[in-house]
Amino acid sequence: MRKQLRLSGSGGQGVITAAIILAEAAVTEGKNAVQSQSYGPEARGGASKSEVIIDDEKIYHPHVKNPDFVLAMTQKAADKYYADLNPEGTLILDDDLVPTSPAFKNIIRVPITKLAVEKLGKSLFANIVALGVLVKVTKLVDFETIKKSVAKRVPPHTVEQNMTALQLGFDAV
């Protein structure tokens, strides 16, 4: 079964890293995965988007159409990227950074960045909190698998904090 995700926000929030880790976890579980990204020329602050396709079949065209899940970490991203969501899909929003919910049926609001700041002292961990939310909501990969993938991708001295961030997100929904 093909599953398509779009993770969106602004440059520096780490949505591309989150997408890479999710795709890597799917590959660890023996699935085919393709991850692509698009961002502006700015190092920080421009629009940033990453897409992941997970399938048992081969994946050719790398872009998602009618995603099953959209994560939006800014109002701009929410307004722009929910439009072609699968009507039965789910829109996940950062509660504080997306004040206005788009007109969509299935919306889950989670204080992603707030959790990262309050519990870990840094908004830097917001993407891993978001990853915890995504794993819980999408059920695409096992929580144990994502833990291993996160540990592999983050700097060694931050593994513990990132595990906390992952758990925070997982428990928040």
Partner: protein, 376 residues
């Protein structure tokens, strides 16, 4: 080896390493930077050298120097950087210095759209440097093939002592997907003199395959290297005969191996009435469009150029004889289409896109439908 998630650019670095590349000189530029980043980590571990130069011209110069000193070399860049490298690409052609230049294409001209995909450097890859010269240009469509094509590029550079352009794009360069890479690959060794100076060795005397066995610097042969037209000694010559023979040999050393170098991926051609031609990242979308069209009962074939130059003249001409039409999906204003038109014996239609986004399968399918209607 089990499957792992890897980026196209990372696969190029992996391919370079197993092919024996031990020297990278470069200057970072989106969307090629991960190649430099990966090799900066990998090369020192195997006794290789990574050097970031002050610009792309110096990057090209330093890899040519390292190649002459015996290292297998690679450099990587994108649009503006590739433009800067052109003069020394010609020097590599003239002086017959093995080198692989990776171009991860982005939107141009000039600074263009630095982070967005395009395949607009096709003709630059062939004719970017001045003068009559030969070149090999290869392009992968997947992360796995990025690895394989890099190995092939390094081997061709060594075997033919020529610059080889690995013409990839942002689509494949930045794409991550699951791959299983082979542990072992076939590696072409650096060519070496077969006789000594005392036995009459001259560095630019061609071997049977028309490629000279030029000695590496520092191995006692004291050779002379120049961008001027030179004779077998490596020193400049003002002779029309030497000039004619040098330019002719430069072309023939590659054209005589064309059947081996030209690699075209073909599918569904047995019953095809029309076919789509594409290369690189665009082929992933073209393939999906062809699959969709076939599901609707249309007899559409798929032709993907892995080798862009030398162009697949013979293959495209032969295939076109049994087709009513060819559609070229060019992620540019129209470049591959001109090459296809030059050789095809059936009508050729262009499906061009140059708006910083990749094709959607529906766009190519719509062009397939139009072509089918036009050639009925």
């Amino acid at each position: 080896m089990s499957a792992r998630l890897m980026q196209g650019n990372e696969a190029i670095a992996e391919g370079a390493l197993v092919a024996g590349v031990r020297f990278f000189g470069g200057y970072p530029i989106t969307p090629s930077t991960e190649i430099a980043e990966s090799l900066a980590k990998m090369l020192p571990k195997v006794g290789g050298t990574f050097i970031q130069m002050e610009d792309e011209i110096a990057s090209m110069g330093v890899v040519l120097g390292a190649s002459l000193a015996g290292r297998k070399v690679l450099t990587a860049s994108s649009g503006p950087g590739i433009s800067l490298k052109q003069e020394l690409i010609g020097y590599a052609s003239a002086a017959e210095i093995p080198v692989v230049i990776v171009n991860v294409q982005r939107v141009g001209p000039s600074t263009g759209q630095p982070t967005a995909p395009s395949q607009g450097d096709v003709m630059q890859a062939r004719w970017g440097t001045h003068g009559d010269h030969s070149i090999i240009v290869l392009s992968p469509w997947s992360v796995r093939e990025a690895f394989e094509v890099t190995v092939r590029a390094v081997n061709y550079a060594e075997r033919f002592r020529t610059p080889v352009i690995l013409l990839t794009d942002e689509i494949v360069g930045h794409l991550r997907e699951n791959v299983e890479l082979p542990d072992k690959v076939k590696v072409y060794p650096r060519r070496a003199p077969k006789i000594s100076r005392a036995e009459g060795y001259e560095p630019y005397t061609p071997d049977e395959d028309l490629v000279p066995n030029i000695a590496n610097f520092g191995e006692g042969y004291h050779i002379h290297v120049t961008g001027l037209i030179h004779d077998e000694t490596g020193f400049p010559s003002g002779s029309p005969k030497v000039t004619r023979e040098a330019i002719k040999r430069m072309h023939e050393k590659i054209s005589r191996a064309e059947d081996e170098i030209v690699d075209v991926h073909r599918e569904f051609m047995d019953d095809a009435e029309v076919a789509v031609v594409s290369f690189g990242g665009t082929s992933r979308t073209a393939y999906e469009a062809v699959l969709n069209a076939r599901k609707r009962g249309l007899k559409v074939g798929f032709i993907r150029l892995v080798t862009i130059f030398p162009f697949a003249d013979k293959i495209i001409r032969e295939l076109s004889k049994n087709l009513r039409g060819l559609l070229v999906a060019d992620l540019n204003f129209g470049q591959i289409v001109n090459e296809v038109e030059r050789v095809a014996e059936c009508p050729v239609k262009l499906c061009a896109k140059y708006d910083m986004t990749i094709f959607e399968p529906e766009e190519i399918e719509k062009s397939i439908d139009e072509l089918v209607a036009e050639v009925k």
